[in-house]
């Protein structure tokens, strides 16, 4: 009902008619880039706002409430402040790498956003290896973190970066394997096809218990991959002051900050797409009237509601759990999550082989 592809198709048809193929491609790319950047910035700011409000709620506080109604413009004011702040140059830092690092981090997360399907047809690029692409791109961010830690020439930063490297490389495995479970169910890596395969039920419902296990592992590993609490060892402000971005100031710090929130969004969006049916509405078997009403809610709203739910889960455990220690963090991954995940994958392969899934 709410299909965006005719709109997108007619736009590109008009572009192709009006301009030569080169310029048509160029203009569509610029349009996409601008749209994604604007989306990225606004969403990032409002995720920060949401986090501040949610954590305030959990801590018996009010949170931002002065700038704009309910503090809605607080994060925008913060961004303006960060934009105008002085960029401090570190004398003994490796200047080239020091300046590049925040851009690597933020570019990686912008690129990953491009292939997330927000609604039918509302997807910048629908690659046939979409899941692999997102995994590959989002793990590029850790290179930025490592470079930032190394180039700052600060001892705290190096420890933070090394922790982050060890952590992301380990948890990458669990993220990949958890997603592999759903890929095995759906039989495709293309995000639009994975969603199409959930037309008659989300994978978390169709996939028996293994899908639940995969979902939980994905949430844990995904949180760890974004360096968020209780796995925020790379920043660990109680021991490393601010970890890898200790020496950054102004807008470069803001880039790291924004990228963290957008990575959280990406993790939640992938969870939504693979486990929770993406932009598909919630249906109950044989409740036709109910299903009809659900269909009236636009898919974009479905997508963002599900993503918001996953993000809320991640914020919830950030604000209630203490931080793990580095050896416990790695033990959790290598001793528990990875073996469970591998077993889970074998079980799923067996289920699929016997045609026992719905």
């Amino acid at each position: 009902m709410y299909d965006f592809s005719p709109l997108i198709d007619s736009l590109s048809a008009w572009l192709n008619q009006t301009f030569s193929p080169f310029w048509a491609g160029f203009i569509s790319m610029v349009l996409l880039g601008v749209a994604l950047l604007a989306f990225y910035a606004v969403l990032g700011l409002y995720l920060v706002y949401a986090e501040r409000k949610i954590c305030a709620r959990m801590q018996n506080r009010l949170g931002p409430n002065r700038v704009g109604p309910g503090g809605l413009f607080q994060t925008i004011a913060d961004l303006i402040k960060l934009l105008m702040k002085e960029l401090i140059y570190i004398r003994n830092a490796d200047n080239l790498l020091f300046n590049i690092a925040p851009f690597i981090v933020i570019v990686a997360s912008i690129m990953a956003i491009g292939s997330i399907p927000f609604a039918k047809g509302l997807q910048a690029i629908d690659l046939n290896i979409g899941v692999l692409y997102i995994l590959a791109i989002s793990s590029m961010g850790v290179i930025g973190v490592l470079i930032a830690g190394w180039a700052s020439n600060s001892k705290y930063s190096v420890i933070g970066a090394m922790r982050s490297g060890a952590q992301v490389i380990s948890y990458e495995l669990s993220v990949g394997l958890a997603l592999l479970c759903i890929i095995a169910y759906a039989g495709s890596m293309q995000l639009s096809e994975i969603i199409a395969s959930q037309q008659d039920g989300w994978w978390i419902f169709k996939g028996h218990i293994p899908a639940w296990i995969a979902f939980v592992i994905y949430l844990i590993a995904g949180t760890a991959e974004t360096n968020r609490g209780p796995f925020d060892l790379a920043e660990a402000e109680s021991e490393l002051t601010a970890g890898f971005h200790t020496e950054y100031s102004g807008i470069k710090f803001a880039f790291f900050f924004l990228a963290e929130y957008m990575n959280m969004f990406i993790i939640a969006a992938i969870a939504t797409t693979l486990f929770l049916g993406g932009w598909l509405p919630f249906h109950i078997w044989h409740f036709d009237a109910f299903n009809r009403i659900m269909d009236y809610i636009p898919p974009v709203i479905w997508f963002f509601a599900k993503t918001a739910f996953v993000i809320y889960l991640m914020m919830w455990f950030k604000w209630t759990f203490p931080r793990l220690r580095i050896d416990q963090l790695l033990a959790l991954e290598w001793k528990y999550l990875l073996p469970i995940n591998l077993m889970n994958l074998i079980v799923i392969a067996f289920l699929i082989l016997m045609q026992w899934h719905f």
Partner: protein
């Protein structure tokens, strides 16, 4: 790149040394841990103090006894009442006078409220050290209520200077009894929340159990007192072994554990909060009437040496006064608990991870101005 002094130092020693502090979020003040790391592991720690040395002992030599009480607030600012009480008791004993029962009761209630407020703040900060930021707001929410009681009676929230040689600065506010009772009732309900949020948490227990083991021998030989020492089974509660003020009149338990790790130092404080509530319960209903200040001609202890020790929220505070019979002390010396508690950190934290160092120093509950005086 030009070589800094630290680079040269590094080359000499070939060690990876980081300075935690003087400005660092987990040292709770201007303390510096010179920490030698091997990867994530702490090889040794050298604590450096003196960044907030104000010469309180020397300054006190120029002040009269009622005046120098004000400086004791600034040592362990979270146990201000108890510090005041230590000096007051020492001077009173030296002069051979005894304050009225009313003063004793009020002093004890104030001391226990102070201990509660201090342990609440410690709990908040300890959670933060471990990365659980929410604890901070829970602890401070309840601490506000105690500070409100203090503010009403003494006019100050943190550095009250309320207890003075000879009694109290003035009588407590008429609401004092009522509000204290209200608070005890309120906090009995809130204290289980603390356990729900932190104590039972798997990550928290993993982070603290078996970390920073301090044996009883170490605790005694380093002079670690207070909850930190009692976590190792050191019976060092001055309220029990040398009772003062109204402590002989109340029933309470001295909490000790023999495990001696971070988790049990934590448990000692958590259970001490319950004991403090019990002590207040026993006293607050029957505060006797009486004068709040002795009629003293002059506060002049006789010539001689006097010592008095009390139990602050962090351990044993000793006051040693050498008097030449004048209105000011010839020499005054404080045996502060944090100074002794600090230096065991190298012994119990080396060999652990850097994150454990933060947890261990949090479990010792250091207040830095008390170390430097």
């Amino acid at each position: 790149m030009e070589e800094t002094l630290m680079d040269l130092d590094l080359k000499e020693k070939e060690e990876y040394i980081i300075n935690m502090g003087p400005q660092h979020p987990s040292t709770h003040g201007v303390l510096r841990f010179e920490t030698c790391l091997q990867g994530e592991k702490v090889k040794w720690i050298r604590p450096h103090c003196g960044y907030i040395h104000r010469g309180i002992e020397k300054m006190s030599e120029a002040l009269t006894y009622p005046q120098l009480v004000h400086l004791t607030d600034r040592m362990d600012y979270l146990s201000a009442h108890i510090n005041n009480e230590a000096v007051a008791l020492c001077v009173e004993n030296a002069m051979g006078v005894e304050v009225s029962d009313r003063v004793k009761y009020i002093r004890t209630i104030l001391a226990e409220l102070t201990r509660l407020a201090s342990h609440q703040l410690w709990w908040s900060a300890f959670g933060m050290d471990l990365g659980a930021l929410t604890t901070f707001f829970y602890g401070l929410r309840d601490r506000e209520k105690i500070l409100d009681i203090f503010e009403e009676s003494t006019g100050a929230r943190l550095l009250q200077s309320f207890i003075t040689p000879g009694g109290l600065m003035n009588d407590v506010h008429p609401n004092f009894q009522k509000r204290t009772k209200e608070f005890v009732k309120y906090f009995r309900k809130k204290l289980p929340e603390y356990d729900q949020l932190l104590t039972g948490n798997v990550i928290f227990q993993e982070r603290t159990k078996g970390i920073g083991y301090m044996s009883l021998e170490d605790a005694i030989s380093y002079g670690v007192t207070g909850p930190s020492g009692r976590g190792s089974g050191f019976h060092c509660d001055i309220r029990k072994i040398a009772p003062y003020s109204a402590y002989p009149l109340v029933k309470f338990n001295e909490i000790t554990y023999t495990q001696g790790d971070t988790f049990h130092r934590y448990l000692v404080r958590m259970r001490e909060m319950w004991e403090s509530l019990d002590i207040i319960d026993q006293l607050v209903d029957n505060i006797p009437q009486g004068p709040t200040m002795l009629e003293l001609k002059a506060v002049k202890p006789p010539k001689g040496e006097f010592y008095q020790r009390v139990e602050t929220a962090r351990g044993e505070l000793g006051v040693y006064i050498v008097s030449d019979g004048g209105p000011t002390p010839a020499r005054i010396r404080y045996r502060t608990p944090n100074f002794s508690n600090l230096f065991i950190i190298n012994k119990i934290a080396s060999g652990h991870k850097i994150a454990d160092l933060v947890a261990i120093s949090g479990s010792l509950d250091l207040v830095i101005p008390d170390i430097d005086r």
